[in-house]
C-alpha cells in the first residue's frame, strides 16, 4: 500500500528532478537561478492546448509548436539578461526571472482565460505492476527516463563536444572566454533555448496528470529549486536524486494523513541541514 504511494510520488518527483537539473545547468552555465523555468513550459503548454482544442490541429503539431514557443520565450529572457546584465551578480540576474515568472502567469490569465482545461494527453495508462500490487504508470516511467536522459545527456554533451567545452569555459571564467573570442552571448542564449524546450516537453508530458492551473504549474519551480539545492546548484546527479527523493517522501507521507504537516517540511529541512553540513568548512573563503 505504501509502495503505491511512493511510486505515485515518483512522477512529480521526476518532474522536480528535471526542473532541478535544468536549474543546476542554468546556474552553472549562465549564472542564473531561472525562476521562470517551468513558467515558459507552462506558457508553451497552453499555446499547444489552444492550437489543439480551438484550431483542431493534430496533437503532434500542437505540442511541437508549444515546445518551440517555450524555447523562444526562454531564449528571449536569456537575451535580455545577457545583453543588459552580462556582468551583474547572480542575484540580480535571477531577480529578473522572478519578474518574468509573474509576467508570464498574468499574461496566461489574460490570453487563455480563467477556466482550467485538460491538457491533450500524450502518454497515459499503466505500464506494469510491481510485486506487492503497486502500479507503475507509463507517464512515471517516461518522465523518470527523461530525467535520467537529460542528466546524463547534458553531462556527456558538456564533456565530449566542442560546444560543451566552450560552455564550460564560459561557466568557469566569462571574461577570459570573451578575451579568447568566444561569443558568450550566443552561448548563453542557446542554453536558455534548450532548457526552455526541455521545460516545454516536460510540461507536455506531465501536464495531463498534474494540476494545470497557471500558478500551480509554474510553482513547480519551487520544489525543483529545492532539488537543485541538494546539489548546491552545482551537481546535476544530486539534483536528480534530490528531486526523486522529494517526490518519493511526499508520496510516502501521503499514506499517513496525520503526518501530512511533517511531510511538507521534511524536504526543505533535510536540504538545509545537508547544505549546511556540505559547506561546513567554508567560513570566510566565500565571504566578500
Amino acid at each position: 500500500m505504501w509502495l503505491n504511494n511512493v511510486v505515485a510520488g515518483l512522477t512529480p518527483g521526476a518532474t522536480y528532478a528535471i526542473v532541478g537539473v535544468l536549474l543546476t545547468l542554468m546556474s552553472q552555465l549562465t549564472r542564473v537561478v531561472n525562476f521562470a523555468q517551468v513558467a515558459v513550459g507552462m506558457f508553451g503548454g497552453y499555446i499547444s492546448l489552444t492550437l489543439v482544442t480551438k484550431m483542431h490541429l493534430p496533437i503532434f503539431v500542437g505540442v511541437t509548436v508549444g515546445v518551440l514557443v517555450a524555447a523562444i520565450l526562454s531564449a528571449l529572457l536569456g537575451w535580455i539578461i545577457a545583453t543588459w546584465l552580462s556582468e551583474a551578480s547572480t542575484s540580480a540576474r535571477s531577480a529578473v526571472t522572478v519578474a518574468a515568472l509573474l509576467f508570464l502567469i498574468s499574461l496566461a490569465f489574460i490570453l487563455f482565460g480563467y477556466r482550467n482545461q485538460p491538457f491533450p494527453t500524450i502518454v497515459a495508462g499503466p505500464l506494469f505492476k510491481l510485486p506487492g500490487g503497486a502500479v507503475v504508470s507509463k507517464v512515471t516511467v517516461v518522465v523518470i527516463v527523461l530525467a535520467i536522459v537529460i542528466t546524463v545527456g547534458s553531462w556527456a554533451f558538456l564533456k565530449f563536444t566542442a560546444f560543451g567545452v566552450k560552455l564550460r569555459a564560459v561557466s568557469d571564467r566569462q571574461m577570459a572566454a570573451e578575451l579568447l573570442g568566444l561569443n558568450v552571448k550566443m552561448l548563453n542564449v542557446s542554453v536558455w533555448f534548450v532548457t526552455g524546450a526541455i521545460a516545454g516537453i516536460t510540461v507536455a508530458l506531465v501536464g495531463p496528470s498534474a494540476s494545470n492551473d497557471y500558478v500551480t504549474l509554474s510553482s513547480v519551480v519551487i520544489p525543483g529549486a529545492a532539488a537543485a539545492l541538494v546539489g548546491a546548484f552545482r551537481r546535476m546527479d544530486l539534483a536528480l536524486i534530490g528531486g526523486l527523493a522529494i517526490g518519493a517522501i511526499q508520496g510516502l507521507f501521503a499514506g499517513f494523513p496525520n503526518l501530512l504537516i511533517i511531510r511538507d517540511w521534511v524536504p526543505i529541512i533535510f536540504i538545509i541541514l545537508f547544505l549546511l553540513w556540505n559547506q561546513r568548512k567554508e567560513v570566510w573563503d566565500v565571504a566578500r
Binding site: A162, V165, K166, R168, A169, S171, D172, R173, M175, A176, A177, E178, L179, L180, G181, L182, N183, V184
Partner: protein
C-alpha cells in the same frame, strides 16, 4: 603594421591610473613595460583588450581604431591578452583549454611544441597543475589562436624564478614567429634582456622610453625608478 597607442589614458574610479602613454608594438619585436607595482601597467593592458575602457587617446591595430570595439572583435582582429593570475579554465583539461583557440591540429601541435612538458599532462584538469604549468597553458593557449599581437601581464607573479626562466626563451620564440609582444613585468632585468623597446612606468606616468639595452647598461637608472 603595428599596435599603436596614441596618448592613452586609463581611469578607474575617480582618477587616472596611467596617463599619456604613446608607444608602438611592432611584429616580431618585444616591447616591455617595467616599473613598481600600482603604477597602472595592468590597467593599460586591460584597456587594450577591452576589459576596461580608455578615458583618453586611441588604440590602433594595423591601422584600425579598436578603441570602441567589443572584446570579442578585438580578439578576432588578432589581439591576445594573457591576463595576470593564470586564467586557465580550471575545470577543463589542458587539451580542452588549447582546443578553444587552436583551430587545426597544426595550430595545436605548434602550441604544444612551445612546451613539450605539457604533452604528458594533456588530459589533466588544469586546476591540478602547478603554477608554472598553468602559466605554460595560458601562454600556449594564446599562441594557438595565431594572434598578431600578444599582451603578457606579469607572468612571473607567484612563480619561482627557475620556473619563470623557462618562460623567457619561449617569449622570444613567439616573437620570432612574427608576433608583436607587449610584456609587462615586475622582474625588470629578465624582461629587458629579451626586449628591444622599453618603457618605465612610475606613479602612472612614463618616466623613461627608449632602447631596452640602454636601460640594461645603466643600472643606476633602473634602480632609481624602482627604489627611488
Amino acid at each position: 603594421m603595428s599596435l599603436k597607442l596614441n596618448d592613452v589614458t586609463v581611469s578607474r574610479g575617480v582618477g587616472p591610473v596611467i596617463s599619456n602613454v604613446t608607444l608602438e608594438v611592432t611584429p616580431g619585436e618585444v616591447t616591455t613595460l617595467v616599473g613598481p607595482n600600482g603604477a597602472g601597467k595592468t590597467s593599460l593592458l586591460e584597456s587594450l583588450s577591452g576589459v576596461i575602457g580608455i578615458s583618453g587617446g586611441s588604440i590602433e591595430l594595423d591601422g584600425v581604431d579598436i578603441s570602441k570595439m567589443s572584446r570579442r572583435r578585438r580578439s578576432h582582429a588578432g589581439l591576445a591578452h594573457v591576463q595576470q593570475g593564470r586564467m586557465i579554465f580550471p575545470s577543463l583539461t589542458v587539451k580542452e583549454n588549447l582546443q578553444l583557440t587552436a583551430r587545426t591540429k597544426a595550430d595545436m601541435d605548434g602550441a604544444l611544441a612551445l612546451f613539450p612538458e605539457l604533452e604528458k599532462r594533456l588530459d589533466s584538469t588544469t586546476v591540478l597543475l602547478s603554477g608554472g604549468e598553468q602559466q605554460m597553458v595560458v601562454l600556449a593557449r594564446a599562441f594557438a589562436s595565431k594572434p598578431k599581437y600578444i599582451l603578457l601581464d606579469e607572468m612571473s607573479l607567484g612563480l619561482a624564478p627557475v620556473v619563470f626562466l623557462r618562460l623567457i626563451p619561449v617569449i622570444e620564440q613567439i616573437a620570432k614567429t612574427g608576433v608583436g609582444v607587449l610584456l609587462v613585468e615586475q622582474f625588470a632585468h629578465l624582461a629587458l634582456k629579451i626586449a628591444s623597446d622599453a618603457l618605465v612606468i612610475t606613479s602612472g606616468h612614463v618616466s623613461y622610453h627608449g632602447a631596452a639595452d640602454a636601460l640594461l647598461k645603466d643600472p643606476e637608472l633602473l634602480k632609481k625608478a624602482y627604489l627611488g
